[in-house]
Structure formats: structure tokens, C-alpha cells
Amino acid sequence: MAYWYTVISLMCINTILAWSVYSSFMTGTVSLGQAGFFAIGAFASASLTAIYGWHIVPATMMGAVAAAIVGLAIAIPTLRLKGLYLTIATVAFVEVIRVVFHNIKYGRDGEFAIDASSADARQMPWIGPDGPLGFRHIIYLTEHHITPGEYAMWLVLLVIAFGVYFWVLERSRLGFAMRAVEEDEIAAQGVGLSHNFLKVFAFAIGAAIAGVAGSLYAHLLTFITGDDFNIPLTVMMLAYVVIGGGQTFWGPILGALIFTLLPEIARETKEFRLELFGIAMLATMVFRQHGLITRDMVRRAETRIKTAFTGRNTIGPDEPGAPAPNPTKK
């Protein structure tokens, strides 16, 4: 059972990561930097809980803030560049962060040996990142007697909270503004929207969300190294969005769920994880350019649910769920 709790926790973390990509995706920015923000959130929050004894909630928030600040520092100079340059800059950023955490060492000696029977029983464990050996002994959950089941439940609640954020965002004027920037920056400026501001904002929020996921991941795994946060990981996060669908926040959930569950259910596939990704990406590009879940599907589903609840079609003439009079939709 504990194993499945861990799988559920990982699904939640991957969903949050997929949304962190989706945040800037809404303004038309493709970020390949999320693994870097994920790493910053992981190391920052784990440092606070393990070295300084913070509570996990403020530590996670600080991880998010740290990731957002770094996100701003990257976004402000690079978002002025056109799409591809930003993407390249974000890839380079992931590599820099990986190398930094691969080599950094800080922290303190632990209070007692973790494993008294081991050869170096008298040696106290190092609490904090230890260069290529990584950051071990992030034992917050065990120390505070949080069971895997409880942790999974908290993570599900957090996913719901982020889901509500995106649900509100997509229906708000701010969400429209982001979509308008994605569609056409010049026309968006023409209606008084600052595309620079919106893109930087969406990117920083995405960085913060990845920072939260980093904290959740570090405390779940108890052991992280700089090498965990590599370029294949960052590509996978983007793939969740591309395959699941980048038009609504539902798509990234599906993408993250499929690719977390598949290797668990069909064990044979685990070995070919990256290859499967490649094939799935290609298939998406060829057969479903907008991903598995499109905005149209969500609209139709919303209409059906409303009709089911009220017993009649109460969709006003100006509701987005109402059927379009022209049937030529893609």
C-alpha cells in the first residue's frame, strides 16, 4: 500500500510540474527551464527543514519564492527575445543549476548516526548538500511521523488547490489577457495589454509552482542530487503538456498521469520510458497537434454536465459552452 501512496504522491508532483510548464505556456512561452526551478525549490526547502529545522509549509513557500526570484531574473532579460532564444536560455539554465547543485556543499553534522550497524557507525551523517554525493537524510516526514498515506492526501489537496487557481485563471480577464498574448503579441498590445508584463508574470508563477513541486519531491524522496534535475526531466515536463494538451489546464493533468502511471502498471515499459516518450510526442505532433484534451472537448463536457445537473440546457446565448452556430470548427 505504501508503494501506491508513493505513486499517488509522484502523480501529484508531476501534475504540479506539468502545470508549472503550462503557466508560461498560456502566454505562448515554451520553458525548458522547469527542472532548474524544481531543483531550486527542492534544495532550498530541504535546507530549511533539514538544516534549520523549519516547518515544511513555510519551507515550501520559501522554496517557491526562491524559484520565483530566479525565474524573474531569467525572464526579465530573456523574455524580450523571441520564443526560441528564451527556450535555449532556459535549457542552459537547467544545466547551470544541475552543475551548481552537483558541486555545492554546505550544512552541518547530524546529531546521531543513521545506521549504527554500518562500518562508519561513529561518523555522523552530513545534513545538507554534499557535492556529488547529494543531499541525503531529508527525514522531515519520518521525524514528524507523517505517513506516506497522509502525505499523499496533503498532496492531493494541494493539486486541487492549484487546479482551482488555474480554473479561475482560465475564466478570468487575466487568463484572457494571457491567451491574447499567446495568440498575437502585437494585437494584444493594441488592446492595451502589456505582453512583457504578462509573460514575465506567468513565467515567474510557473517557476514558483515548480519550486513547490521541488519541495514536495525532496521530502518524499529524502535524498536528492544535482543530477536528478537534468535536461531529460525538463523535456518530460514539457511533454506532459504537449501530449496531454496545452489549451486548458486539464491537458497537463492527463499527460502527467499517463506518464507516471504507465511505467508502474506496465513494468516492461519502464526501461523504454524515454523511447515511449519520443514516440508519444511524435504521434501527438502528427495526429493530435493540440494534445489529447482540447479546449473544445472541455467546453462540450461542461455543457453536458450543466445540462445533466439542471435537467435542461440553461446555457445562455453568450456562454462559451453553447454550441457554435457554425460547424466548421477544427
Partner: protein
């Protein structure tokens, strides 16, 4: 005219725009006074769109200055200029393609830019009845009521042009720049568009109109500015412009070149 007069709605003072060695606008000065429709004509490549791009801050001028309602807007960010009360349409259609017709207009409304981020985040669509009513009203004016749920990209060209106009109207601008609003339209569509522009100008904003369809321009405009090679070669009433030798030369020359 070499300096901005305070009573002008819009004025350009010695505006030059260079693309490399090519001068798309060459020391151009002009003024648009308040009210009615003012025409901007000239052969293809004469710099009409470039002037609109300079006014709306898409390309800041290489030299010279632009003034709107007594303010210097030279080199200001495009969205700031839009917020001051200038709206435009684009010759090469820039509707928000994957948004619905309704959302294109709703999201463009003036208040959007005055809201803070929090207000924008919590301004959930269905609680905005007055705004939605205004959108309905605008869609009715441009004749797109039936198409409100269609995605902008699925509209035929004529309807996309009307959607561009609707989106600009949603801004409730003081100055409306229309870049070939009847481009590629059938004669009937062109007539409808001409009527619409007439009504729009009657109701509020000053309209600055680029158009190749001379019948429409002559009928609508109280004043016309003629460009050639980025320079103003004539201006005046439709009558004055039509009988101007330099204008005839520019148009005949361009016809001969294109033939």
C-alpha cells in the same frame, strides 16, 4: 506645419522611419483634427501602414515626433498608447485566432487595462453583465451576433475584418485607425463596411482611414492625406485631392509600374 498644434487630435512632426537604407517615412508632417473620417491614401509601399505602426508604437520613428491629444507619444510602449485612447485594425488581420468572436471583443474592452492583476484574476466572466451587454451591442453593430461562438480563425476574411473593427470599438477609442478595412472584400461587403465606418465616426471616435477603394474614400472622408515614397504629396478635400496633378502622377505612375 513644423510643430504640434494643441488643438490637433493627432500630429506627426517631421517623422522619418528608416528600414536599413530605405526610408519608409521621409520627414513626414501631418495633423488630424477632431471629428469625422480622415483618409490616408497612396500607392502600395508608400508608407501608410508604417505610419500607423509608428503612431501605435509598433515601430518607433527613426526621428521626428508624434503627438496625441496634447501628449508626446513618440517611442512609447504600444500598450501605453492604446491605453491613451488609440485603437486600430490591421491590414494583415491580427484577430485572436483561437478565441471566440465574443471573447475577442470582451477581452479588448477598455477597462481591462485599468485593472490590477488581482482584479483581473477575480473578474470571472459570468459576473460581468454590463460588459457582456456592451459586447452584444458591438457585435450587433458590426453584424457578427450570429457568429459570437465561432472561433475567430473560422471566420471568412470579410467577417474577420469586421471582428477587427468590433475589437477596436470595444476600446471606446478617441482615435480609430483603420488599415484597409475593406481589403479583399466583395463590393457588397465594401458598401456595408463603408456605412459602418460612417456610423462609427458619427457616433464618436475620429477615424483615420487607409483604403485603396477610392469610391469609398471619396464618399467618407472630409479630408484626405496622400503619401508617395513616404512623403506627403498632397492633402485637402476629396475634390482637391482628385484634381491634384501630383496625385494623378503618383497613381498613374504606380499603375504603369504594376501593369
Amino acid at each position: 506645419m513644423t510643430r504640434a498644434e494643441p488643438q490637433d487630435m493627432l500630429s506627426a512632426v517631421a517623422v522619418t522611419k528608416a528600414f536599413g537604407a530605405h526610408l519608409a517615412l521621409d520627414n513626414l508632417s501631418l495633423a488630424v483634427t477632431k471629428g469625422g473620417v480622415i483618409g490616408l491614401i497612396g500607392p502600395n509601399g508608400s508608407g501608410k501602414t508604417t505610419l500607423f505602426n509608428a503612431i501605435t508604437g509598433i515601430h518607433s520613428p527613426t526621428s521626428g515626433s508624434l503627438h496625441f491629444a496634447g501628449r508626446d507619444i513618440t517611442g512609447r510602449a504600444s500598450e501605453r498608447i492604446a491605453q491613451l485612447g488609440i485603437a486600430r485594425t490591421f491590414q494583415n488581420l491580427k484577430v485572436f485566432r483561437r478565441l471566440t468572436v465574443f471573447d475577442n471583443v470582451l477581452g479588448a474592452q477598455n477597462s481591462a487595462s485599468d485593472m490590477t492583476m488581482w482584479q483581473m484574476l477575480f473578474s470571472v466572466r459570468r459576473n460581468e453583465t454590463p460588459r457582456r451587454d456592451r459586447v452584444e451591442h458591438i457585435l450587433e453593430r458590426v453584424g457578427l451576433t450570429d457568429r459570437r461562438h465561432a472561433l475567430a480563425q473560422d471566420l471568412p476574411l470579410g467577417e474577420q475584418r469586421r471582428l477587427e473593427l468590433a475589437r477596436a470599438l470595444a476600446r471606446e477609442p478617441e482615435l480609430l485607425l483603420l488599415d484597409e478595412p475593406a481589403g479583399g472584400m466583395t463590393p457588397q461587403e465594401t458598401d456595408t463596411m463603408a456605412e459602418l465606418i460612417h456610423d462609427v465616426a458619427e457616433a464618436g471616435p475620429t477615424v483615420f482611414l487607409i483604403e485603396h477603394k477610392m469610391g469609398m474614400v471619396m464618399r467618407l472622408c472630409r479630408h484626405i492625406v496622400v503619401l508617395n515614397f513616404g512623403r506627403k504629396i498632397a492633402e485637402g478635400t476629396p475634390k482637391q485631392v482628385q484634381s491634384d496633378a501630383a496625385v494623378r502622377e503618383a497613381y498613374l505612375g504606380s499603375v504603369a509600374r504594376h501593369a
